[in-house]
């Protein structure tokens, strides 16, 4: 469960395409129990708009069982280890303050990082967007004559669709994180930031390994240890043969030029130390000013993400060290929409995210619909505020017809995400703010929007006690609609969206203010409904 990357390979890029079929009759991939996951046009925007995509994933009973179980387990684990830290709230405050400082000083800190990485023998590249970043990585791999690279799980490379790009250039990217490998072998899409195969159970994983891994033992069971051992043996060959590794970074220390990758399986350590060349793609927001700032985040991150007290494998490196690890190190600093987000006073807090995924695990919406419904490599509450901002320049927020415009509405604003966020991102408030931008953008479009018309009418009605009182009194005339049961069970659109699954009470015989006027006001001052 390293926490940096996921893969979006298509069939074309599968690492073992040249491997013999695992067993007779297994040449065809297993039918996905979830049906086909649409592959993205871009990793930040794929499939249908959230309400439609959610309707589809909700119908998948297996998915809901897998997710319900997994999120409850990880939630309880997190709550237990967070509960034992006496200064947890102070740590959150410190993490939040550090991130605010980083955003305020980002240009200076980035230059500092570049200077220090360069001084220690690394090469720094600046990528404005996904295309530039992909081109840079491809050129490095090609210069090394590599037709295969090993990868540490990384959200940044997921976000730019690096694996697909490399595949198109004839370079196979091999995911080495166990869950990422499962997703890659299944030609699936990740559904979680940290545990990308959270939607799969172990029986499904066994089936995927048997059909797709190529060198899985034919008698493989679905015991987790056996599954892990099969993956371990499979990956070992890759680690030993790869000349180039690609990683993301959890943190970059500006004052020293040190990069950090935080992972759980040791696959990251292999990738970061064995190949001759290391290429790290890092979002520009991942900086911390000083080395000691890692102290805060290395406490916050493992407890929030995997529910562990301490992270198992924390790799730190600074430039290159002759005779120790890669002899060539490239750092690709990725913007891809981030400076636009940074310019936004409210939305920029989304850049504070350290990709722990605690908000996904507690989200009651994510728990039901899963990650694929969000149509982005960043699902869940953080995805609902980050994705549409990153894609704002190409639709997203303020683009009504863009599927990502539905993401800020994919929440009940229950606030569970804000409560668990280790850097205190006020996700509910940002969601509301993004909704307001959608609405304001729609104002200039003209045409008739039923929601806008209804909201306008409601505003008129609800901004005056007299008008509202009269409307309420008029509604009581519909008391009889409830019939014998006193409820309305079927209604025309848009109320049908409610009555499809819930009854609606018929209006009462008497509103509260009618009762009040009768009970509490003398005839002289009874003016409640003027």
């Amino acid at each position: 469960m390293s926490r940096t990357f996921l893969g979006l390979p298509r069939r074309l890029s599968r690492p073992d395409d040249d491997a013999p079929p695992a067993a007779a009759g297994a040449g065809e991939p297993p039918e996905s129990p979830f049906g086909p996951v649409p592959h993205p046009q871009t990793p930040l925007r794929w499939g249908d708009a959230f309400p439609v995509a959610a309707r589809q994933t909700l119908q998948n009973a297996q998915l809901r069982r897998n997710l319900g179980h997994a999120t409850q387990v990880i939630r309880a684990k997190r709550a237990a280890v967070v509960g034992e830290v006496p200064d947890w709230e102070a740590l959150r405050d410190a993490g939040s303050a550090l991130k605010e400082r980083v955003m305020a000083e980002l240009p200076e800190l980035l230059q500092q990082l570049e200077e220090n990485v360069t001084a220690r023998g690394g090469v720094v590249h600046w990528a404005r967007d996904a295309a530039e970043a992909n081109r840079i990585v491809t050129e490095i791999a090609r210069a090394k004559g590599a037709d295969e690279v090993v990868k540490v799980k990384s959200m940044a490379t997921q976000e730019i669709g690096l694996n697909e790009h490399l595949a198109a250039e004839g370079i196979a990217a091999v995911e080495t994180d166990l869950a990422e490998l499962i997703v890659q072998l299944a030609d699936d899409m990740p559904s979680h930031i940290l545990v990308p195969a959270i939607h799969r159970n172990r029986t499904e994983i066994r089936d995927i390994f048997l059909a797709r891994m190529g060198d899985a033992p034919p008698d493989l069971s679905d015991v987790p240890r056996e599954l892990a051992m099969a993956a371990r043996a499979h990956l070992r060959r890759k680690f030993l043969s790869a000349k180039v590794a690609v990683s993301g970074a959890n943190f970059g220390v500006a004052s020293t030029g040190t990069l950090a990758v935080v992972e759980s399986e040791g696959n990251g350590r292999m990738c970061l130390t064995l190949p001759e060349t290391l290429v790290t793609v890092m979002g520009i927001e991942k900086l911390v000013p000083d080395f000691e700032d890692l102290e805060v985040f290395l406490q916050l991150l493992p407890r929030s993400s995997t529910g562990e007290r301490m992270n198992p494998y924390t790799s730190l490196w600074t430039g290159v060290t002759p005779g120790d690890g890669p002899s060539e190190f490239h750092l690709v600093l990725l913007d891809n929409g981030r400076t636009d987000v940074l310019a936004d006073e409210v939305g920029r807090a989304a850049l504070h995210c350290i990709r722990c995924s605690a908000c996904l695990n507690v989200c009651p919406v994510y728990e039901r619909v899963g990650g694929h419904a969000y149509g982005s490599v960043y699902p869940g509450p953080i995805g609902a505020i980050l994705t549409p901002q990153l894609t704002a320049s190409t639709g997203g927020v303020s683009g009504h017809d863009d599927v990502n415009a539905a993401l800020p509405y994919a929440s009940t604003l229950c606030g569970a995400c804000y409560d668990v966020c280790p850097v205190k991102i006020d996700i509910p408030s940002i969601l509301v703010d993004l909704r307001a931008r959608e609405v304001d953008a729609d104002r200039s479009r003209g045409g008739v929007d039923p929601w806008a018309a209804a909201m306008k009418a409601a505003s008129w009605l609800m901004s005056d006690g007299g008008r509202f009182g009269r409307a309420g009194r008029a509604a009581t005339l519909a008391h009889g609609l409830g019939g014998r049961d006193g409820v309305i069970s079927a209604a025309p659109p848009p109320v049908s969206a409610w009555t499809r699954s819930r009854d609606l009470p018929a209006p009462p015989r008497q509103t509260f203010r009618q009762w009040w006027a009768k009970e509490h006001e003398s005839p002289a001052d009874a003016g409640g409904e003027r």
Binding site: P364, V439, R484
Partner: protein, 265 residues
């Protein structure tokens, strides 16, 4: 104390039992309740759906209606709703400021400073947990999201309920999980909302309670709507309706679709 009641738009027109019980309860405790007739709505629905401009007149009406509390005409404003209180406290001034109405924002903050959700008013301001209520039924309590995480009412509602004579209060499994209402979310994402509701009603039914109670009529409308559709035979009552119940004047169990035979409300 002289307490102004903000009945909430939804309870005023759809669930008058909740504000009526609030009045009954506070009067029984010896306080004077005032209902400023200019009130309509706090603006939460407009704000949460992103219609800030349309929210402004609604917020203005609420703030101006309750502004006398800032001048001491009333001692407090009570709202029998966690989410409306949350909107008053955390959204109204923001919406005013965004519209360039700094003066109105300042008034909104002054009003918000004296505005309390019912359980806050009872426990923190009036200093009571035993309100002398009697309700001899099995009840489970759903802590609504905004009461829980926006207002941090904590266990105040439970302390009030535990003090009710003869109540059989049973714990709701996964109580802190959202019921799936979310205002317009219930319409814009109806399928997801229904899936969340299905789990909530299953948990409610597992308690064997006759009544599920909460501090928000909107969430109760959602949970109750699901229970009614399932003919679960479990009714909904606002926290105030249980706290208002006494031996002399007991709150009746709500009629449910499973047993309703033309009962009027």
């Amino acid at each position: 104390m002289r307490i102004a009641l903000a009945a909430t738009c939804i309870a005023d027109t759809m669930f008058p039992g909740a504000p009526r019980a609030t009045v009954r309860l506070l009067e029984r405790l010896g306080h004077e309740v005032v209902f400023p007739p200019g009130q309509a709505c706090c603006g939460q629905m407009h704000v949460n759906t992103g219609y800030f401009a349309e929210a402004v007149p609604v917020v203005r009406n609420h703030v101006e209606t309750f502004a006398p509390v800032a001048d001491g005409e009333w001692d407090a404003v009570v709202i029998p709703s966690g989410s409306c209180t949350g909107s008053v406290r955390h959204q109204q001034a923001m919406v005013c400021r965004r519209a360039g109405l700094d003066g109105l924002a300042a008034t909104a903050e002054a009003v918000a400073a004296k505005t309390y959700e019912l359980s806050e008013l009872l426990v923190d301001v009036l200093g009571v947990t035993d309100v002398g209520a009697w309700f001899p039924h099995r009840v489970t309590y759903h802590p609504t999201c905004h009461s829980l995480r926006m207002l941090r009412v904590g266990d105040r509602p439970l302390r009030l309920l535990r003090a009710v004579e003869d109540i059989d209060l049973v714990e709701l499994p996964a109580a802190e999980s959202c019921c799936g209402f979310g205002g317009t979310f219930a319409l814009k994402n109806a399928d997801t909302s229904a899936a969340m509701l299905a789990d909530k009603t299953a948990h409610v039914r597992s308690t064997g309670a006759a009544v599920v109670t909460a501090g928000d009529m909107s969430c109760l409308m959602h949970i109750g709507g699901g229970l009614s559709r399932q003919r679960a035979g479990v009714g909904t009552l606002h926290l105030a309706e249980i706290l208002a119940s006494t031996r002399e004047e007991p709150t009746a169990l709500p009629a449910t679709r499973a047993d309703r035979t033309g009962v009027s409300r």
